[in-house]
């Protein structure tokens, strides 16, 4: 908790502002009855809108979960959410429906995800330190280029990248998916970390420098420990984006041994006719589960990450 207090102020001050804004309003509503009634009705309408919109949005997901626990034929005639009995066969069937048990693809995905996370954490934090703290020639230009690459469409580089990686024999290995991350090509995270480092007081670096620390020491001992929230955001986003990444895997992984979860699911869709939606749903849910768990436990970092890189 103490670490959080050294964060750039935005989030904590937001919370304070929210609280401060609440109390006078409450006092006001006690003062005039008419106001409080219309405010209450307004609140009710708001909640009604939110519950309806939220319900419609989440319903398909809930329905998919329920349907995966139903016999197959019910999927086509049961729009409700009630379950008479749990049918686990969809999960057991789906798990072994492809060349390998589904766990094999999950392990493949996990390898790519871990490699990508490690790559992004190391390479992006290094680049971010240079951009945020060091004075070097060409900084402005490089920084501008870095910002531009955030917006560069992936398709412009995919053909030559594919040629390059296929010539060094990396097709059907995980390298084409991991190595770019080791080279800080996810510029979004460089930017996110630059933003974060800029919020860390410079006095801390100066103090370390007076004590005789060089840049590697300052980076490792001062900056890195203080930017844990940014590293957490990076980890979580990298996890989710890499876990879901379909295009890269589709191009580089054509051997079923090497399939990650998204391409495995795609192979599943292609191989089955419409008869086995149950097991297809079951494996879809298995594939979404890690993302859902990360969302559940890492939400705070996700929301802060989006909000701070998005403002102005």
């Amino acid at each position: 908790m103490t670490k959080l207090q050294t964060l750039p102020a935005s989030s904590s001050s937001d919370r304070k502002a929210g609280k401060a804004g609440k109390s006078p309003r409450r006092r006001e509503s006690r003062g005039s009855l008419a106001f409080s009634r219309s405010a209450r009705i307004k609140g009710l309408i708001k909640h009604a809108i939110l519950i309806i919109v939220g319900g419609v949005m989440i319903y398909p997901l809930l329905w998919m979960v329920v349907s995966s626990l139903r016999p197959n034929d019910l999927i086509f005639r049961e729009p409700g959410l009630w379950l008479e009995n749990l049918e686990m066969s969809n999960y057991t069937d789906g798990w072994s429906a492809l060349t390998h048990p589904f766990g094999h693809y999950m392990i493949n995905s996990a390898i790519v995800v871990l490699g990508s996370i490690l790559g992004n954490l190391i390479s992006c934090s290094m680049a971010a330190y240079a951009f945020a703290r060091l004075q070097f020639s060409g900084k402005k230009i490089f920084f501008g280029i870095m910002l531009l690459t955030i917006m560069l469409p992936f398709h412009v580089v995919i053909v030559p990248q594919y040629i390059l990686f296929s010539q060094i024999g990396w097709v059907n290995t995980f390298w084409p998916l991991i190595v770019p991350k080791l080279l800080a090509t996810d510029a979004f995270f460089v930017f996110l970390m630059v933003q974060f480092i800029r919020g860390i007081p410079k006095d801390l670096d100066e103090a370390a420098r007076i004590d005789g620390a060089g840049h590697p020491r300052i980076f490792l001992r001062v900056i890195l420990p203080l930017m844990v929230p940014a590293l957490a955001t990076t980890t979580i986003f990298t996890f989710i984006w890499t876990w879901n990444d379909f295009f890269g895997a589709l191009i580089y992984l054509t051997d079923p041994d090497m399939f990650t979860v998204p391409v495995a699911l795609r192979a599943f869709v292609d191989s089955q006719s419409a008869t086995s939606w149950g097991s297809l749903f079951a494996m879809s849910i298995v594939s979404l589960l890690p993302v859902f768990l990360v969302f559940l436990f890492g939400q705070r970092f996700l929301i802060k990450g989006i909000a701070t890189t998005g403002i102005k």
Binding site: G54, S137, I163, H215, L280, F281, S287, I303, K312
Partner: protein, 314 residues
């Protein structure tokens, strides 16, 4: 400041450097380039190199097996007469021009409803945000394929009220609409950005407006919207760039072929088919550069137009 904000201020602030600035600029050269090394290698090998290479390839005929053969502007001339490509452009533009504003409008409305200390805000926020994390996955695309199928969830619900719905994704008239709906469904992440932006608006503006007797609608038009305009701009630029590159959903929902009758054949899907289905790498490269130019043009137009509607409070 967002990436876009930084870029626009960088282009705005241009002046000659003083001597001291120049000196300070080179102070940490050695250390800086060490820290930047991975990024610099990545920039050269993974980004700029391949970009230039694909520019070269776009003037060649190349199928991976034989060495590239220079054909001049052939690929571009071919693109000019390629009806399927024109169709894919039409599909992609429809998707971007309908899907992006619709998604942002929903995101903004929900953010406005959610703002200002509503009870249960974190809960609602989570519910609305979850789909944007899952929306890019193959699993959700599979779900969509079922929901909007002939006997899918949507038609099951419609049947309860006696309506016989079409096969949404098997009908060329509605297939693209189903995928646009999937895009709108992921409004959570722009909504989070809007929420953060709404909190940045100083409450004193509203207080002053209230003193002057402004209505809710007036406050929205005169305060909220102008103060939020940089964030709307940011979301607009990012979503447009992202949507032009949509691939997974259309690929899975259509079974990889952009059907029915090419109605969901996104530009990227066609590019994939040309490059990695038929190994027509030269043509695919030309298409990729064309996409880059389109996205660049849209972004440039956005930036130019932003001078007329985006309000910077500094």
């Amino acid at each position: 400041m967002s990436a876009i904000g930084e870029l626009s201020t960088m282009t705005r602030r241009k002046g000659p450097m003083t001597k001291e600035e120049k000196k300070a600029n080179g102070r940490d050269n050695k250390a800086a380039y060490v820290f930047l090394l991975p990024w610099l290698i990545g920039l050269a090998v993974i980004t700029v190199g391949p970009m230039l290479m694909s520019l070269y390839l776009s003037f060649t005929d190349y199928n991976l097996l034989q060495p590239p053969e220079w054909v001049g502007l052939d690929n571009f001339v071919r693109m000019f007469g390629d009806a399927r490509l024109h169709n894919s452009l039409r599909v992609t533009f429809t998707y971007v021009l309908v899907g992006v504003p619709l998604q942002l409008a929903v995101a903004l409305v929900i953010a406005l409803v959610l703002d200002k200390g509503l009870r249960g805000l974190p809960f609602y926020r989570s519910i609305f945000y979850l789909p944007s994390l899952l929306g890019g996955s193959v699993a959700v695309a599979i779900l969509w394929k079922q929901i909007f199928g002939t006997t899918g969830l949507v038609n099951q619900v419609l049947a309860m009220v006696g309506i016989e719905g079409p096969g949404w994704i098997s009908d060329p008239n509605t297939a693209l609409g189903s995928i646009i709906l999937l895009h709108v469904w992921t409004f959570g992440s722009p909504m989070i950005i809007f929420l953060a932006g709404l909190r940045q608006i100083p409450t004193m503006y509203y207080e002053a407006a209230e003193v002057d007797g402004a209505s809710t609608l007036q406050k929205f038009w005169r305060i909220t919207l102008p103060m939020l305009s940089p964030i709307i701009f940011f979301n607009l630029v990012l979503q447009i760039i992202g949507s032009f590159q949509s691939f997974t959903q259309a690929f899975i929902v259509s079974g990889g072929n952009g059907g029915p009758s090419d109605s969901t054949m996104f530009f990227t899907l066609y590019l994939y088919q040309k490059g990695f289905g038929q190994f027509d790498m030269g043509y695919a490269s030309a298409m990729a550069w064309f996409l880059l130019v389109i996205i660049g043009a849209f972004t440039a137009i956005n930036f130019i137009a932003s001078k007329y509607w985006v309000f910077y409070d500094d």
